[in-house]
């Protein structure tokens, strides 16, 4: 009975030709499709092109004034803080989250580093460690709320932003620690503000000027790029951002990944707080108010998808540099600074439009 059901069914008779054709991969692509495929595989390419083009345009318009080692490294100095916070933001955005508390964590950490040194007389290096610890701890709370309590990252970090900022003003009693005092008693706090020059003339003018903060930015971005590409944890960050359920079923410990991502984000923001003391010289509880918006801008212009799982930290660096190039370039041209914001706004929308277009290559 019913033996006729064994083997392929009648309607499949047409399949007698080798069925492996299912797994063929030679597809003819138009040049546009090829470009899209390339961009899909190397998401940091778009911001790199935009960066090179904008440097060329400003270089052509302004000549030596812009296209010099001094000016270009000045841009790097100016984006150091946004870039470092952007690196933290990158990690969170790759998991399809968002961290609105980055700026607040940065400020509170810098205040802790300053106040622990000056109010309690704790040795400065120890205070720095305390500041880094505070940043990581806040990040850990964010991560726990997102991963274990299943609260939306936007809400968690929106709340944390207010909490941390208020704690920052209450704890610091709104007082600023003066630059001279820090320079006299706790120089290590200003470490990332100190500079060295390469290729300066004999009077010590011109040439490339680097702050240690700028160096930290480069080192940190390269380190994170390595971790995201070459370690299991990095691959898991992408997998969680891509499809958390699939990642969980495939054996990724999604909760652990999320908690470590937010903790690391907090730690990196605290590092940015240390760099900020170097940049400002002083410790001010009112500094860095726009760091969260600026870091999200760098991430978006850098081609990292807010839907998670796509993009690279190098793209974020290029995104931050694009903003820096526009700001300084337009300032040197003497235009109204509002033009900078207007152009950045256009870039943000264009970047998301490009992201959507590239995503279609997947389909």
């Amino acid at each position: 009975m019913a033996t006729e059901t064994q083997g392929p069914q009648g309607f499949e008779a047409a399949l007698t030709r080798k069925p492996e054709a299912v797994a063929e991969f030679t597809q003819r692509r138009s040049p546009v499709q090829q470009a899209r495929h390339l961009l899909h595989q190397t998401p940091s390419l778009v911001p790199l092109i935009v960066l090179v083009v904008s440097i060329s345009i400003f270089g052509a318009l302004l000549g030596q004034k812009f296209f010099s080692a001094f000016t270009l490294t000045l841009i790097l100095q100016q984006v150091a803080i946004v870039g470092i916070v952007g690196a933290a933001q990158t990690l969170v955005v790759l998991t399809a989250g968002i961290d609105l508390s980055v700026g607040a964590i940065m400020v509170l950490s810098s205040v802790v580093m300053g106040q622990f040194t000056f109010r309690y007389g704790i040795p400065a290096p120890l205070s720095v460690l305390c500041g880094l610890g505070v940043g990581a701890a806040i990040g850990f709370v964010n991560g726990t709320l997102v991963a274990r309590m299943k609260l939306p990252p936007f809400i968690v970090t929106l709340g944390m932003w207010q909490i941390v900022l208020a704690a920052n003003f209450l704890y610091s009693r709104n007082e600023t620690i003066r630059s001279q005092d820090i320079a006299a008693e706790a120089q290590i706090l200003q470490f990332f503000g100190s500079t060295f020059r390469i290729g300066a003339d004999e009077a010590g003018r011109g040439g490339a000027v680097f702050t240690y903060g700028a160096v930290l930015l480069i080192v940190l971005v390269l380190l994170i790029a390595y971790v995201l590409r070459q370690t299991a944890w990095g691959r898991h960050v992408y997998a969680v951002g891509d499809d958390p359920e699939a990642a969980e079923l495939a054996g990724v410990q999604t909760k652990t990944v999320l908690v470590t991502v937010y903790t690391l984000s907090g730690l990196i923001c605290a590092l940015a707080g240390w760099v900020m003391i170097g940049r400002l010289g002083s410790v001010s509880p009112t500094a860095g108010q726009f760091a969260n918006i600026e870091s999200i801008t760098a991430v978006v212009i850098g081609g990292i998808s807010l839907f998670g799982g796509r993009g690279s930290v190098l793209g974020m660096l290029f995104g931050a540099l694009i903003v820096g190039v526009f700001s300084l370039g337009l300032k040197l041209m003497g235009t109204d600074p509002q033009w900078t914001y207007l152009l950045i706004g256009i870039l943000i929308i264009a970047a998301v439009a490009v992201d959507q277009w590239i995503r279609k290559a997947a389909a």
Partner: protein
């Protein structure tokens, strides 16, 4: 012969709904056992219990005669039970090799692996290629390409290859042909038979009766949270199976016809 995977008296309740009602299950070495049942019969709960995705309220699961207590799919995997989920559990943006080794990556030997935790890409790609070739899927040219660039059948192939590569005891496949076209289904059925030829027993959950009757050695009919009966697809027809599944026929009536 002793069953390789055996469950006795499984009970799973969700509030007032009883999804598994004192359910038994047996899978013998080297066979393809199909599990069929109407929607809501409790097939998914049974499979989830076997693959560690849910914990049962009562009952025992034995693998190779040893009692098992799975707290998560990871436990089941470590015990040698691999599951191909209906949604495949692949990360679209990651490469084929990355997906196959997700959660059990190989690290480089020496300092790079231990201190810098660097992945051994070459080893993973080599192994992935080897597995795909074994299953005749090596028309997939570039092991580094993202899974989202693959067709539905190819993705299914990657998921099956992953299970076959790591499953040492049992492979569970949940609706492997549900989302596929005729041609791609045929390829996946061949894959399933390939895996069986390599000696791995397979639990196949499917709604597609022709597919079930083509590849299964035995058919477990699930009804109202229980194993209603196990039939031999060579001795019974598809309409018998459907009648059993829906309750139009009682298992006792089967023997009269058989």
């Amino acid at each position: 012969m002793e069953p390789i995977l055996k469950a006795r008296g499984l009970v799973k309740r969700y509030g007032r709904v009883t999804a598994l009602n004192n359910c038994d299950f047996d899978l013998y070495p080297g066979e393809i056992l199909a599990v069929i049942g109407d929607n809501g019969a409790g097939k998914s709960s049974l499979i989830k219990a076997l693959s560690g995705a849910i914990r049962v309220d009562e009952g025992t699961i034995e693998l190779d005669g040893k009692p098992m207590n799975f707290a998560s799919p990871l436990n089941a995997r470590e015990a040698g039970i691999e599951t191909v989920y209906q949604n495949l559990a692949l990360s679209p943006a990651l490469s084929i090799a990355d997906n196959m080794f997700l959660g059990r990556e190989i690290r480089k030997p020496g300092i790079m692996g231990r201190w810098f935790r660097a992945l051994d890409r070459a080893a993973m790609e080599h192994k992935a290629r080897e597995k795909l070739t074994e299953l005749g899927l090596m028309t997939i040219q570039n092991i580094g390409q993202a899974v989202e660039t693959l067709s539905g059948g190819q993705r299914q192939g990657v998921a099956v290859a992953r299970a076959a590569a790591f499953g040492s005891k049992v492979v569970i496949m949940d609706e492997p042909t549900a989302a596929l076209g005729v041609k791609e289904s045929r390829r996946v059925l061949e894959l399933i038979l390939d895996v069986k030829r390599r000696g791995l027993p397979i639990v196949l959950i499917s709604h597609n009766m022709p597919h079930v009757f083509e590849v299964a050695d035995r058919v477990h009919v699930h009804r109202l949270g229980q194993r209603l009966c196990v039939i031999d697809p060579r001795r019974h027809s598809m309409s018998d199976a459907v009648a059993l599944m829906t309750g139009a026929m009682a298992p006792e009536q089967l023997n009269e016809f058989a």
